[in-house]
């Protein structure tokens, strides 16, 4: 059977229950065993404005929202007018004919008007359940199971809203489903039923990864699009015995994390670019005091308040340059939602071993997207390695040196409360004993020794980080290079290009810093005509790569309009840059919300 690959999009005003439809649709797909990736183009408004949610449904695992839209659910007239042109030929659009005086004109798609007044027996004048009714229509057209929908509606409403509201929703859903059966043509490709899947958003996946890694202290200041991590942690704090705090600002957040980490907890926080900017001084202090922490930065469009609800990969240099001076640090950028789950425990083991700050670069696309996964594929008990940690009542003769100079640069770390290991950690530079050297008329030899010791850890880290992967045909004519959340969309573009007779492969980076120059160059040496694909204006990663490895990409595909890449954006860019051309290609975003 050919792969099932179908995209439903829901347009409407915030407050019309788009998230309910999105969540329920994803849930139904997951129950059918179909994979889902969702992307919500929304605005920073509680009510008013316009939201457009794209749900890609596939029989194979999927991690980007694709190129085409097969079915649009238009909850208001605005959505009908706006998104009518976006429906792929052969697709369909569902709209409420009560709102529309003149039928829309498109002959290559199926127009599916419903009269909500009729379908709801005029019982819902505020159109509170229009979303559910249209959802019923859509589900019938794609061959979804009505019983599953009924189950999901009951699950969604019964506990929160009671029996009457649940029944009303069930009634309009059935009315919609039956109306579609009688009046509209079903899509040729229909839902299939496999083993059910679970589904999760990127922020929750990282929070779950934190819980599995043994995070015992989490704190945050609310900031879109990172707040989902706080929500998951707060919801699960008591069940999983995790301390969760909301702080007065991000400066407090990072400093609390440092305090908790020093006192022995695995401690984590998440923010977005602006909050991260407030944290930078303290990130350096974690480097200086050699305290292991994990900070997640969910990127949104910058600079400044920027685009609070839009995506970007624009904070790489902020993380690279966070805090003054040189100190060991690790930067990692998960390549998919479930990779975000795995990344957190991996990073905690590294920061515990090397006693330094670790930073996760996510972005809105990854963090607020939803994806499906096989329940049994989750490793709830990843390896936990806390490194050289002194916690017990190990006896010393009182001459413990917190910053003992070692070949690896790693000094055994005693947790406060441990007898016999009393010491001071300082943000001033210090000697092996923690004694301040900044005030000791700046002792240059001690300073050099302790800097060398700390920086030696970087060699150990770099040697342990896996180099980037090369995917696709070896004998490619063009090589796409990307990092972080764009793994799937670039991979799909490379595949499309290859199938179209332009052999293309793909080098993708997850571990960004530190770079093992030789190991990375060994991969980059295999690159054909190289094009770096990234979601920012200045080509932050391309510049970083050039600085670290001397590798200069010939072409660039850059997007900085706030919307994530669709595969065809990259395909068009690669076609433009094919044949050894150099330059920067900026794709055009057709779907404007």
């Amino acid at each position: 059977m050919a792969n099932y690959d179908f995209v439903v999009a829901v347009g409407g005003a915030p407050g019309q229950g788009i998230d309910t439809v999105g969540k329920s649709m994803s849930q139904i797909c997951a129950r059918h065993g179909l994979h889902v990736f969702t992307y919500s183009a929304y605005q920073s408004l509680i009510r008013g404005g316009h939201t457009f949610l794209t749900i890609r449904i596939s029989s194979e695992p999927v991690a980007n929202h694709g190129d085409k839209i097969d079915l649009v659910i238009a909850l208001d007239r605005n959505s009908l007018e706006k998104h009518l042109p976006h429906v792929a030929p052969g697709g369909a659009i569902i709209y409420n004919s009560d709102d529309v005086k003149q039928a829309p004109e498109r002959e290559d798609i199926q127009l599916c008007p419903i009269s909500y007044k009729e379908l709801s027996d005029n019982t819902d004048r505020k159109k509170l359940m229009l979303n559910i009714c249209m959802f019923g229509v859509a589900l019938n057209m794609v061959g979804g199971d009505l019983a599953v929908l009924e189950d999901i509606i009951t699950l969604t409403f019964l506990k929160r809203k009671g029996q009457a509201i649940t029944d009303a929703n069930l009634a309009v859903a059935r009315a919609g489903y039956n109306h579609a059966a009688a009046h509209f043509n079903p899509f040729e490709a229909q839902f299939t039923k496999q083993e059910p899947l679970a589904f999760v958003d990127g922020n929750s996946a990282m929070a779950m990864g934190g819980a599995a890694a043994g995070v015992k202290f989490y704190c945050a200041y609310p900031m879109s699009p990172s707040t989902g991590v706080l929500k998951w942690m707060a919801d699960n704090a008591r069940d999983l015995s995790i301390m969760v705090r909301q702080c007065e600002d991000e400066i407090s957040v990072i400093n609390m994390v440092i305090g908790a980490a020093h006192a022995g907890c695995r401690a984590m926080c998440a923010t977005s670019g602006g909050g991260f900017a407030l944290m930078t001084e303290a990130i350096g202090s974690a480097g200086m005091m050699e305290i292991p922490i994990v900070v997640i930065n969910v990127q949104r469009g910058g600079p400044s308040t920027g685009l609070p609800t839009k995506t970007e990969q624009g904070d790489l240099w902020q993380l690279l340059g966070a805090s003054q001076g040189d100190f060991p640090k690790i930067i990692v950028s998960p390549t998919s939602i479930m990779d975000g789950f795995d990344t957190i425990p991996e990073l905690f083991n590294l920061v515990d071993k090397f006693q330094c700050p670790g930073m996760v670069l996510s972005d809105l696309t990854l963090s607020m997207g939803f994806t499906t996964f096989a329940p049994e594929s989750v490793n709830w008990q990843p390896k936990i390695d806390r490194g050289e940690l002194i916690t017990g009542a190990a006896q010393t003769n009182g001459d413990y040196l917190r910053y003992q100079i070692t070949d690896s640069g790693i000094s055994p770390r005693a947790i406060p409360g441990t007898p016999g290991h009393v010491h001071v950690v300082a943000t001033d530079d210090h000697d092996e004993d923690g004694g301040l050297i900044s005030d000791e008329f700046t002792n240059p030899h001690k300073r050099r020794d302790i800097m060398d010791k700390r920086q030696r850890k970087m060699e150990g880290i770099a040697a342990q980080l896996p180099p980037p992967t090369l995917e696709g045909p070896e004998d490619a004519e063009i090589t796409l290079i990307g990092w972080g959340s764009t793994h799937s969309v670039i991979g799909e573009a490379a595949q499309q290009l290859t199938e179209a007779g332009m052999p293309t492969n793909h080098i993708h980076f997850k571990w960004l810093y530190p770079i093992d120059e030789d190991a990375v160059n060994a991969v980059l040496d295999k690159a054909a005509h190289a094009v770096v694909v990234e979601c920012n204006y200045t080509g932050q990663f391309a510049r970083f790569l050039r600085g670290e490895t001397g590798f200069k990409a010939a072409g660039h595909i850059r997007k900085y309009d706030g919307e994530p890449f669709m595969p065809h954006h990259i395909v068009e860019g690669a076609q433009e840059l094919f044949g050894g051309k150099v330059g920067v290609y900026v794709p055009y975003q057709e779907i404007v919300v």
């Binding site: 997951a30 679970a198 589904f199 999760v200 779950m208 819980a211 599995a212 890694a213 043994g214 015992k216 704190c219 008591r238 069940d239 999983l240 015995s241 995790i242 301390m243 705090r245 702080c247 007065e248 600002d249 400066i251 407090s252 400093n255 609390m256 440092i258 305090g259 908790a260 020093h262 006192a263 022995g264 907890c265 401690a267 001084e281 303290a282 202090s285 329940p375 989750v378 709830w380 990843p382 936990i384 010393t396 003769n397 009182g398 406060p416 409360g417 007898p419 016999g420 009393v422 010491h423 001071v424 950690v425 300082a426 943000t427 001033d428 004993d433 004694g435 301040l436 005030d439 000791e440």
Partner: protein, 304 residues
């Protein structure tokens, strides 16, 4: 400034019997100017630690940046010399991670009331079980003499050569209204009373502030030991520390008579860690890491 005589810590001695103030001396000579008010605060703190009777390793002394924030280096406890203004946030994290530790925060007026002002207000509001000792010298000393949040009106400093035109903060009144549950003022020239205030502040369950007049002998020629000695007065014996209104009346007094002692104490309100159910099984830092397979499966069920 005086040169330090000794820069390395003495070996940590196992404490036998009841600890003494000497057991809490790190052996490192403070780099404070001779005659600095902070010496009296340091000796009071070492006495208070000793009186509490717990081992060196059971205390964590946290500071920010400034002359007075060098203090953790001079006491034989676990110490954190953190960023300027951030000591309370770090200390809150540490206390939440291991609430069995006695966590004491030390610093100056610029560190706590200026750059750290946001954390100051919110840590009091949260009633975190910390003792916060502010060595208030009403000047920025380490940067050689600029106006601070507690500098008096008219004071001439490097940054206010024509006199300060900004009203100073009243830390006592601010603490009482912000939600601190133990609010006291001490004087470095009265170390015995100061040690008692510290000891009681450590025993208090909740946020304890002790604002200490700790004169800067180098950069503040206005608020000297001679300025304070005739002015500081013990709060009246019948002062009701449980009465917020009365405490505020005393807190706003300034002039020829400046009250010192315990202004306000609320022994009823629970501290943050007492309110936190996840601490029922003991300190977070001692909890087993990770989650069980069953917990994981329960999470998955909610995602299906």
């Amino acid at each position: 400034m005086a040169r330090r005589e000794r820069r390395t810590r003495v070996k940590e001695r196992p404490v036998v019997g009841a600890p003494t103030a000497r057991d809490f001396a790190s052996g490192v000579s403070p780099d404070w100017c001779p005659g600095c008010g902070d010496f009296g605060v340091l000796s009071s703190l070492q006495n208070a630690y000793a009186k509490l009777g717990r081992g060196n390793h059971e205390h964590l002394t946290v500071s920010g940046i400034g002359c007075s924030s060098n203090l953790p280096g001079y006491v034989q406890t676990y110490g954190m010399h953190t960023l300027h203004g951030r000591a309370l946030a770090v200390a809150t994290g540490a206390k939440m991670a291991n609430h069995e530790m006695n966590v004491v925060v030390t610093g100056g007026d610029g560190d706590g009331y200026g750059i750290g002002g946001n954390h100051f207000v919110h840590t009091m509001r949260k009633n975190v079980d910390l003792l916060y000792i502010v060595m208030n010298n009403q000047i920025y000393g380490l940067t050689v003499g600029q106006t601070s949040p507690t500098s008096l009106m008219g004071m001439k400093t490097y940054s206010t050569p024509f006199g300060n035109i900004e009203e100073p903060i009243n830390p006592i009144a601010l603490a009482i209204v912000a939600g601190a549950t133990y609010v006291a003022r001490g004087f470095s020239g009265n170390p015995r009373q100061l040690a008692d205030l510290m000891y009681n502040g450590m025993q208090h369950k909740g946020f304890a502030l002790i604002d200490v007049f700790s004169p800067c002998v180098t950069f503040n020629k206005d608020n000297t030991f001679d300025f304070f000695k005739p002015r500081v007065q013990e709060l009246p014996e019948d002062h009701d520390v449980s009465d917020k209104g009365v405490a505020l009346e005393q807190a706003v007094k300034w002039g020829d008579e400046i009250p010192i002692g315990l202004f306000y104490q609320d022994t009823e309100r629970s501290s943050l860690e007492q309110m936190e159910p996840v601490l029922e099984n003991g300190p977070m830092a001692h909890q087993p890491l990770g989650i069980s397979k069953e917990q994981g499966e329960a999470i998955i069920r909610r995602l299906m």
